[in-house]
């Protein structure tokens, strides 16, 4: 059993390495303005938030709706920290305010600080809320996200957050350099690496004894407490760590977008992420990642034509106009929920042995119905 697991682990590593090589090659050979790079970058960023949300919702059984708020904190912390001081002092960004933060940091420090800022806020909200029943966390975190969005647009904080105005000219993906050289780092590969490292850290956490304690709390709080697991401590830990990575992904989103504004981090963004987690399968890391890429590809690429008058070669400007994409999208999601009620992956992970088993079964017994892949 153990030996087989080890072999599978190596296959998984090889597959992940292959994905990275493919991304690197794609980026060197294809036109970098192709929509596929938008999908890859945004998909990787959303994978990270979705996995961090899954750590809470799927593995600890805590229902939180504050993801957009923590991403906002991360995005702003990053943009404030990495905007060069020279830029802050001119009027190109802080037009109506005098910038109060008069230092700047590198990209790596900016990303870490973005995570830490989000984690700090999470720790503060968690303190009163996590002692209550889980439902209260959903309400409190949703409220928090809405409040924080308003606060970041508040005039009084203008010298820090630039009020409701756009933040730009901070260090973005084009400023990433290969270490010790001046050669630009391939941007898509960079996003993949950053998100990949963070997701790997979350996977390590889930498979550690802390992760087991999280899952025990999810399965049965009373029994977990009887085993000596300190419920509050572990819930707080999970919440803070999840928020840390939401903050980092907010910073990555800021890097990818070149500009960032508090107004974009609406509750709708959290629902989008929740949808991804549910479609991917609550409690499945690979499910969250696959669902993120599918979701972003569908909304940014494949279904674009539904809004533009032309879809799959059919020209129907009266039918395919602005908003029709959302309509089709909702129907697809309903179908997924109806036919894959536990998401694409359930709570299992993708595994190659499982894929092969499934393939063989299909060959012998013809097409089989059902969702997910054996883990």
């Amino acid at each position: 059993m153990k030996k087989k697991n080890k072999a599978e682990l190596w296959i998984a590593f090889a597959a992940i390495a292959l994905i990275y090589v493919a991304v690197a090659i794609l980026e060197q050979t294809m036109d970098n303005n192709h929509i596929i790079f938008t999908v890859l970058k945004k998909g990787a960023i959303y994978s990270l938030v979705a996995v961090s949300m899954n750590l809470l919702n799927g593995f600890t059984g805590l229902f939180s709706l504050g993801q957009a708020g923590f991403m906002l904190i991360g995005a702003y912390t990053y943009s404030i920290f990495t905007m060069p001081t020279a830029v802050k002092l001119t009027e190109s960004v802080y037009k109506y305010y005098e910038a109060a933060v008069k230092f700047d940091t590198g990209i790596f420090v900016g990303l870490i600080c973005a995570g830490l800022a989000a984690a700090l806020f999470a720790a503060l909200i968690g303190l009163p809320v996590l002692r209550l029943k889980s439902d209260y966390l959903a309400i409190a975190s949703l409220g928090f996200a809405e409040i924080i969005r308003a606060i970041f647009q508040w005039d009084v904080l203008g010298p820090v957050t630039n009020g409701a105005n756009v933040m730009r000219n901070y260090l973005d993906l084009t400023d990433v350099k290969i270490p010790f050289t001046d050669i630009p780092f391939p941007p898509t590969l960079y996003v993949f690496l950053a998100a990949g490292v963070c997701i790997a850290l979350i996977v390590l956490l889930i498979n550690s004894s802390y992760g087991r304690a999280f899952k025990a709390i999810r399965d049965d709080e009373v029994a977990a407490e009887a085993m000596g697991i300190n419920l509050f401590k572990h819930k707080e830990m999970s919440f803070v760590i999840s928020s840390f990575f939401a903050g980092v992904s907010g910073a990555l989103l800021a890097m990818y977008q070149y500009t960032v504004q508090a107004a974009q981090f609406k509750a709708a963004m959290t629902y989008e992420l929740l949808l991804i987690v549910v479609i991917g399968g609550i409690g499945s890391i690979s499910g969250s990642c696959i669902a993120s890429f599918l979701y972003i590809a569908a909304s940014e690429w494949w279904l674009r034509g539904l809004d533009m008058g032309k879809f799959l070669g059919i020209d129907a400007p009266n039918l395919f106009r602005s908003g029709f994409r959302r309509f089709v999208f909702s129907i697809i999601i309903m179908m997924i929920v109806l036919f894959f009620s536990r998401g694409l992956m359930g709570d299992r992970e993708i595994s190659f042995a499982g894929l092969i088993r499934r393939f063989n079964r299909r060959q012998t017994a013809g097409a089989t119905k059902g969702g997910g892949i054996d883990g």
Binding site: M1, R212, A216, D220, V222, A224, A226, G228, N230
Partner: protein
């Protein structure tokens, strides 16, 4: 007589605004099997939950190895060597059998392999199913897992809340013979049961609890033939 490992003095516990335990006192001698029997609502579970730290007692003293542990949190109590097999088993359904056992040893930092092996030796069925999710086990197997999980913390005192609940008579007999075997290994056992017959024939000492008070006490075998106990709990 051996020395006392757990000593309860005038324990009062409120549960949902009702005084569920109205000042009970009893001793658990080290290495013994002690049972509390009583009808529904007699306060048995509340007593165990208070000892385990899952509810804070209203007043009274819970002395474990000479120290008062009343009101301490569960984490501290588990690391002192008290463990609870909760009512209705409450295993972790989505964790594998093996993971369930690992969670049982959560408070320990030392090597747990010998304990896992011991549990697998006590319950060979668990070994066969170690990679299966806990929720897929049968009721009896889940009870075995709950007991095994509790043993993983290497307890000095194991408290069991209705281990026979909802199990077939044959399986109940198996569980009780394993309780005796665990006890022989030096684990003191505090057992609460509605199945008074089984509990009293296993226990060294029995206490009868009625509406939050202890009304009778004596060696298990004596209570088993006591006319009042027979009438009230044994249905003969």
């Amino acid at each position: 007589m051996s020395d006392t490992i757990l000593s309860i003095k005038d324990l009062k516990v409120n549960y949902g605004g009702i005084e569920a335990v109205k000042g009970i006192s009893f001793d658990v001698p080290k290495g013994h099997i002690v049972t509390l029997i009583g009808a529904n609502g007699a306060g048995k579970s509340s007593t165990l939950r208070a000892i385990a730290g899952l509810v804070k007692p209203k007043s009274g003293v819970i002395e474990f190895e000479g120290d008062n542990i009343a009101g301490k949190d569960t984490t501290a109590i588990v690391s002192r060597g008290i463990t609870l097999v909760p009512e209705g088993r409450r295993i972790f359904p989505d964790l594998t059998v093996y993971e369930n056992l690992r969670v049982g040893a959560y408070m320990r930092k030392d090597d747990i392999t010998p304990d896992i092996n011991w549990v697998y030796e006590l319950f060979p069925r668990l070994k066969e199913r170690s990679w299966q999710a806990g929720g897929t086990l049968s009721g009896g197997e889940q009870q075995m897992l709950a007991v095994g999980r509790a043993l993983m913390s290497r307890p000095k005192l194991m408290m069991m809340d209705e281990p026979s609940l909802g199990l077939a008579p044959l399986i109940v007999r198996d569980i009780f013979s394993i309780i005796k075997e665990i006890n022989k290994r030096g684990v003191t056992i505090l057992l609460i049961e509605q199945n008074a017959n089984m509990a009293l024939s296993t226990a060294d000492t029995g206490y009868v609890l009625e509406t939050g008070r202890i009304t009778m006490t004596g060696p298990g075998k004596e209570l088993l033939v006591n006319e009042a106990v027979k009438a009230a709990y044994l249905g003969t």
